[in-house]
Amino acid sequence: MKKEMTKKQIVRVTDVTKNFDLGKIVVNVLKGINLEIETGKYVSIMGPSGSGKSTLFNMIGGLDKPTEGKVFIDEVDIAQLDAYELAWLRCRKIGYIFQTFNLIPVMTALENVTLPMTFAGVPGDAAISRGMTLLAQVGLEGRHGHKPAELSGGQQQRVAVARALANSPSIILADEPTGNLDLKTGEEIISLLKQMSEDQGVTVISATHDYKMLNVSDQVIWIRDGRVDKIQDRDELEIHTGGMSS
């Protein structure tokens, strides 16, 4: 069973709205979102395309600023941070995983994993040994010298998971992490994320419309038309999607 967590909120979103000004028209993408995400949980943000899921996700990741309302990460309002502090937040507090893997093509797997540690000021040797450990943890032992082009999609995403974990972040933000993977590799990545979340107590927040995610999620936030449609905990969820688990 999961170890006992103190009910601490790592992410708090209050009354967030986001408008995109397209010149002639203003699109209200988010229409007042309130959310609290507890430390150590595996949370999925679900919603159809155009629901504002990605926009909300970018707000939580500090990649975009809300038009109104506030986003707190560890009780820090990210709108108040300057460029240096934001970079620090992205470097140490948050690990990103992308749909398209986004490894740096000219670097080897190991160099991709050690890059965030370099930014964090970890000395070279320590970064390399931690990088090797992480690559072994995601099941890529012996692949450290390979360039992304020499790895399969699933392997690239594993490198990305290792990279996201490099600076022991509190949050891992995964944007459609299985979107570009086949069913089986997708499942492997999901269980890898789940395992990392359990072992290291890191909060995983993933935006997805992959129903495979539901089986491992502690909480699912359904977004519809710029609002929170419903928030379901794991126990409510299993009744709902029991028939779909493989």
Partner: protein, 216 residues
């Protein structure tokens, strides 16, 4: 307390070097324009240096050869300036070279949008990105300028020997030739940096959210 995000110079150098190697042929083409422009600059400067040396040697034979080869010598001249036409051609070639570099670097930035966005998501500051691009340009600039100055220098010297005969070898103005080459190299590196300025700033200003975009 403000914690720091860092990128040591050594790492920046490694990253820049790898980016150049990954796009070797494109880098080569960019460097070629620089080589051409710098060698042309070095060639015309060094040719004038040599002619100057021939003029100041006071040897009437040299004087006659110079006049025969089309140099416009006024009585009392101690230095032969480049003609306005020549100067314009040099300036134009340098201008074309800068435009070429800007174009190549802009392409390189566009191609690396996602890479830059990803780096920013990993915590890179704007100045890291600028630094990587500037280092790349400096490396290309240095390589291109040194090659260009060398090619231009060799061409000017051998051209002079060919036109004026081996008699001029003893009065070769080595010091001035070196100085002109150095100047051409500095100009070349300067042009390379000038060309990367706008693309680098554009890259650095890019929002990390670009990394999330799915379309390539």
């Amino acid at each position: 307390m403000r914690q720091l995000v860092v990128l040591p110079w050594k790492q920046s150098l490694i990253i820049s070097y790898k980016s150049i190697r990954a796009r070797f042929f494109r880098s080569l083409i960019t460097t070629m324009t620089l080589i051409l422009a710098v060698s042309f600059l070095a060639f015309s400067q060094i040719t004038i240096d040599i002619a100057d040396a021939m003029l100041t040697s006071g040897n009437p034979v040299f004087h006659r050869i110079l006049l025969q080869s089309g140099f416009d010598i006024q009585p009392g001249n101690i230095s032969l300036a480049a003609s306005p036409k020549q100067r314009w051609i040099v300036i134009l070639s340098l201008l074309v070279c800068v435009v070429g570099i800007i174009n190549a670097q802009l392409m390189s930035v566009t191609e690396r949008f996602r890479e830059i966005g990803t780096m920013k998501c990993l915590g890179a500051l704007d100045k890291f990105i600028v630094r990587i691009f500037v280092l790349e340009a400096s490396m290309l600039g240095l390589a291109g300028s040194v090659t260009g100055a060398f090619v231009g220098g060799i061409a000017a010297c051998s051209g002079a020997v060919f036109r004026f005969g081996t008699d001029i070898l003893p009065i070769f103005p080595w010091h001035d030739i070196l100085l002109s080459s150095a100047l051409a190299i500095i100009t070349g590196i300067g042009l390379s940096l000038l060309g990367v300025l706008y693309p680098a700033i554009m890259a650095a200003r890019m929002q990390p959210v670009e990394a999330m975009r799915v379309e390539q």
